[in-house]
Symmetry: D2
Subunit: 502 residues, 4 copies
């Protein structure tokens, strides 16, 4: 349910951003220390700052570093020419440099006009990556940057890594012939995946695409585990409130809702849940939450949190009935869940009390505390831990490897889920972080269970609770093949980590 | 993973079982108060005791009682002739009398030679159900009882409700022609479902079959929620141990393992987990459990619990290394997980200290405490709450209704999962127990989400965490149709419960 | 708040109790294998069964076993002649045999006419302890047994270990001169301690007395940790109910209430709390419980639990308003909390459905489920873990040692709490069970904190949360001296356990 | 253990602080709108900003607002002339204006040269309070401000409210005669209380003093409940780390340690505990934490947190052995717990990566992450919720009322704890925030328990877990009288809140 977690970490480092340099990067002449000018960033001189942030990120992205080590022997992306369009952050930089180490050539643009960390972009440009991105691009800049990535003499991409589908869209529109050489698309976002399914349905998808948004591991981390922490972080940073004893209603008991409820319950809040699906509702009951309709508790709660993916879950009528000082925020999807537009009426006064915090004041003096204007709290008001981004980035890297190396015919012109074995592999690459020791099946046990000792341990259509209550999955899984026969054997490095104990 | 939860509740009522009546029921002439003798039970005079147990069970099975109420208007099982073979307990009796109220005729045998509650069987016989079952049947008695259910003049079943597949097997073997009139089979157990899939694979399944074992609701309750409570209950009743501060290793982090770990952690135990699947392993890490190999902790733990579904997870070598007084038990599957056979060697002394509790004593005096001889702890040493059995029984009733009313052609000669909507309906029927109020979608919201307001809210292939680590699901879901067009509209009573609040 | 935890463990072993031997033990001529007949038990031949139970208990009472080991060198109770009056169970036997190993002579009677385990009494008699106790004594038997302990030719007690004050009372009444030689009284129960404070207040206490009921360690275990587990156990064994989703109100948020609330919340119940003390009430809020008056929730809850120590907390009016099937039980104090007497009216029908479980049925058919007739649930319907009893028994043993060895003048004719250092020592003796490694202060740190490296680490008047909401402590602590100068150095064995790690 | 929580909330409002106005406030001529110039603040024109912050704080300080309402009838501080020296924040302003509403005249200085919020000081000055404080005072300024509060013609204080003892010290030193008219001192901090006990011991304390630091309610909130939240907040804001799966060692299991452990366990961390006190150690075991020595786990943990109050708990030797990226922080006391000085050696490189975050880098590249240079994490890197400050401020107000109204002779020249009944009253004033409904004793119950229906419900020496492992309480409680006879009846407003329900 949580889209676009690859949002930039708000760096606390003392960036030199506040320069009074107002010249557009497009009008500047810049060269990196090796003399290349095949990039366009804010200020190449910020490279050193960016490099430090990348180095810090590397320490928390062990899986990509493990892939790099392995790549000293083989280069599964040798010959790959990847064009990418994602948020440009320290974590993306670690991904890009890993793809480079695996043999790929990369060209990169930003998928969001605000999210680029200029220092990181500079560091990438300095080390030779053609990067076209800066913070505060205009819409025209945005498309210009994308175009500079693909429209190059003597270089044509054969792989696409996209986040939101804009890059894919641009190539479809401007350079449809390019798809003849493209082996596949890897897409990260809900929106981008949706676009791909529509293309597929319309029979217009002309290369295989991998939906990495719906891998089990990524979903669990983006939704349950990450939100369990970011709900507390987001509320604390914006309001300094105390959780103990507070009455909270959480709308929706999918993965995001489950994470929010568990965290707040643990901190001593009293949590109510609303649901439309009786199965999720029964789970809420068994987990110890009163299942109510929003109307029943709206007058008494201190906090309202939406995690449904639905629209207008909190209406003006609800807002009118809330008690003074009630906090309202959205952890769900987009900005549709709270009917914020209904609050833009003359009788209500808006007061911006802090960044991301508005007091909306009723004529009688009652005020409600609206966070992030109803947009996603966790993206607006808290940070996404590098570890979560590491899982996303590793999944992207493996999807690129799989599509690039797949034998002819394994993937058709359709949208695929990451094969189960690959998903398990991503998980296994992150276990060493926790000094976690996986048990290996004996031959006898593998035979008893009818499993391969190296996995996959679950069938392709197994998705562990990954459907939050609003994400309607598509017809997946039936086509995704196994990993056999890939030159790149994913179980190698995994096993290396397992010899530690008993 | 947990098979056969429909095991009899150990009644604490003062049954008159210990009579010295050694005559076989088959040799007795018994009549109920209406003069019928179409049954065979231990002692028809025990009916009154059994009736009280049934009445108590009724209070905790609200969903079936709701179906009965609804049946005052329509009889969706009118004309159905159901032959059943299940454990015969107070909860089964509530199911049978519900099927009767819905219009069905029933004949019933026991699926297990020990599990029949004689008083309940007597009560059913007294109220006119042809029941053939008693506690302590011989194998010959077992098949004789089944045969008495199906081999009747002037009555031929058109529906089968089976638990384990023995009834289905008997009809296949003895009366294959009977299948011509049979509209479908509803099967409850893992074993029975396995047999059906094999038949299907071999092209020998000649009627549709419904696998109710793998419905989301049933799985969640049988595995996660029920085991979360029964692990504590089973350990306490057998050993009176204190949980606080104890070191425990739980083998397997599927649903059963998750339930065991959560409960013990909450009681102050220190819990370690072993896993083979990296995705489940990563979940264990994020839930705060050290992931280890069994060897690493075997010397230090106070309790070893298996929940893998695998075999020989605890070997003689492990048992040799455990510390004095270590408790060993199995929550997983069958009796294969602990290699109990390896303990039957001359140098070890077995001492039965309580029912279901053995001390196995090493030559040096070390003793380990083996519970239930390695069989399922929760079935052997704790009780299954009526509420869990209610979910199973309701699922069975709805599956019978669905198969019996399905229009020609909806179901082929294959094995089906319960349609998602039915699964949701079972859940919704149990919400009133918790005074839980479901939210209804507005028209606008339903349109936005692309959902029918009455569900299903998730696709058929959605299974929420239901795969414990060992249960390998089959190729399901692709064939299961929707419920539209059934005469029996399952959303009626559900909605009635929802008007309570705001 | 929890009185008298030293209740016998309900042994599951196959005792030979059900003999039809109706002869009073007082009329029997019995001799143990060494020819002694200075005892009076049910049947000396049951000694072997009792010995096995004692051996099992020894394994879970490591602290007493550690004291025994230590006693191989010195005998701090050499010369002590202890007369005791407690429940006679396997755990008491371990205590008695430990006192013997420490040099004491003992004579023992039971403090309760029902609680004696005959086999254990036989085992003690067989190994030479003059024990006078059996299950099912008459009141006359009860006092006869006590008298046989103290009224002996050529033997006069110099220490008293009492549980309830009956033994002390008997000596005061019958043999007041005996107090001239008595060095002190150790009393375990709330009632007995209350009697001693009254004696003290009246100026009639003629020897020092040690109140071991109020030691921090004992209180924490008897109340918080033990009740956290026994509330679940007691409810499950009596009702087989499922905890998940149930609404529960807990009356009283002292230590017992805190334990009950924590356990039920962890199992998925929704818990409400009532309190009279605003400080405890605020704690309940911060721990995530709705603080209500009983009236507010009485119609909706599934379970009512009292832990207040107060009287008539649940009145007939409350009982009249409960919903059908509501469970009512008492974890608090005595049997006053629920007004059970008010249910003994003609219009209500009582139905005993299981041992300790009554259905009380209203004219309209509503039934409430009353457990243990309002007496303490945890004593009536669950077992007390040996580990908890071990803490009590160790505290008693150390109190005897302290009083017996105290230099002239340290203790006056007053009631004392166990010195803090002794309390800490009891705790430290139980740490090895958990393989727990205590950190030792460096000299520099001890100096910085102004503490002795061996403790006490808290002042004498420090009581960690030990006051449950109803137990009004007395004027303690101001007189209790330190342990310096005792021949028996309690820090010895403690430190021995601490060298294990770093 | 946590000293000085009254630290200023870091306001996120857009203060106009960054003015380039470098003139010292002492050199400015300022008047408020009523023409008064009896104050000295940074800039009186900032009053409006400050007023808004005060109004927001008022909404979260219901207890003080309740006192104000009550004061419309009676003025328990009529005639009181209070001189105060505390942090000057929005919450302090609410306290000061409450004291004013209760009838007192106040003059105020800051207890810390950095902590004054200039806008709040301006708002207070604007509304007529003689305030002498600004952010960034020199030491000379500091004492000058204090002197301006006390050294006034025609006005002499009769009450002191101090935080740290500097104000008290100044009066002792400069104006000892002033004490003749002073009725009492209320002191908030550990340090200030310590100084008072020393004065008392030396026989130099010439007025009664009230130690409000050690009230049960304040302690519980400052330590357990506040730290449970601030440990997560502090770690997240500084490092953006993910808690799930992390290994953490918490040194010390007093109230602060208990709060940290509970929070991190709930977020999925694996927590180890070190302790010196066997009773706290046993609690850690029962709460499910492995009790270790620091050495045993120092190589494997991801986070080290100190909460002991001791010194050099984390030594250079420990720091040398930590793994790369290990985070080290202090939640305990002062800055002694981590031996930060030992890290100031030439071979180690310090790198400031963010505010309050240093990387200390070993020659081999290993870096540890040191937060707040070993000072208190929760004060340096997170905010203190207004609700916690509300409890402190209410306690201070009631202590002033009690001392000011106490009849002659109730308090001697000594240090007193807040009477139990007052402490309960503070708690009760905060219950309405949680819509919490206290139960009232019936006459019969009060008689049974031997309690007054209005409390106190616990004896004066009852302190619920308030002793964290390092805070050694003083000789309290024996002298503190009851509240009877005060003109101001504290139970009035409390009871008013209780009529809401049943």
């Amino acid at each position: 349910g949580q889209e676009g977690k690859m949002f930039p970490r708000k760096s606390a480092a003392s960036y030199t951003d506040s320069s009074d340099d107002e010249t557009s990067p497009r009008d500047k002449q810049q060269k990196n220390s090796k003399g290349s000018s095949d990039f366009c960033v804010k200020n190449i001189k910020q490279a050193e700052f960016g490099r430090r942030e990348i180095e810090i990120a590397e320490q928390e992205m062990p899986a990509l570093m493990a892939l790099r080590k392995r790549a000293q022997g083989e280069k599964p992306l040798a010959g790959a020419k990847i064009v990418g369009c994602t948020h440009i952050t320290a974590q993306t930089a670690v991904l890009m440099e890993t793809l480079g180490a695996l043999g790929a050539q990369c060209r990169w643009a930003a998928c969001n006009i605000y999210s680029t960390l200029n220092e990181v972009a500079a560091a990438l440009a300095e080390s030779g990556f053609p990067v076209f991105a800066w913070k505060g691009e205009s819409e025209d800049d945005f498309w210009w940057c994308i175009d500079r990535c693909v429209n190059v003499e003597g270089w044509q991409p054969n792989m696409i890594l996209d986040d939101g589908g804009d890059l894919t869209h641009w190539i479809y529109k401007k350079y449809p012939n390019m798809f003849k050489k493209i082996k596949g698309i890897v897409e990260e976002s809900v929106t981008g995946v949706h676009r791909l399914y529509q293309l597929s349905k319309a029979g217009k998808l002309c290369v295989p695409a991998m939906n990495v948004n719906d891998s089990v591991t990524k979903q669990k981390f983006d939704n349950l585990y990450c939100c369990r922490e970011s709900i507390l972080d987001g509320l604390k940073r914006t309001t300094d409130m105390m959780f103990g004893g507070k009455q909270v209603v959480v709308c929706g008991y999918g993965e995001v809702g489950k994470g929010c409820c568990a965290a707040l319950k643990a901190m001593g809040s009293i949590v109510y849940v609303t649901e439309i699906d009786p199965i999720c509702a029964l789970q809420a009951c068994m987990d110890g939450f009163r299942l109510v309709k929003l109307n029943e508790v709206i007058r008494q709660v201190d906090i309202v949190i939406t995690c449904t993916g639905n629209k207008n879950v909190v209406t003006r009528e609800h807002l009118d009935r809330m008690k003074n000082s009630c906090i309202v925020c959205n952890m769900g999807h987009s900005n549709t869940e709270i009917d914020v537009a209904s609050l833009r009426t003359p009788e209500l006064t808006w007061e911006r009390v802090r960044s991301q915090v508005d007091h909306v004041i009723w004529p009688d003096g009652k005020r409600i505390v609206l966070l992030a204007e109803g947009r996603l709290l966790n993206l607006s008001c808290s940070t996404v831990p590098t570890f979560v981004l590491s899982i996303t980035a590793t999944t992207q890297a493996l999807a690129l490897i799989e599509l690039y190396n797949a034998p002819e015919g394994r993937y058709k012109q359709d949208v695929y889920l990451l094969p189960k074995k690959m998903d398990e592999y991503v998980a296994s690459l992150h276990l060493p972080t926790f000094d976690a020791h996986l048990t290996e099946l004996t031959d006898e046990q593998a035979k008893y269970l009818g499993l391969n000792k190296n996995g996959p341990f679950k069938p392709n259509y197994y998705r562990c609770c990954s459907s939050s209550s609003f994400l309607l999955p598509r017809a997946w899984g039936t086509r995704a093949g196994r990993v056999e026969g890939t030159g790149f054997n994913p179980t190698g490095p995994l096993r290396r980590y397992q010899g530690v104990s008993g």
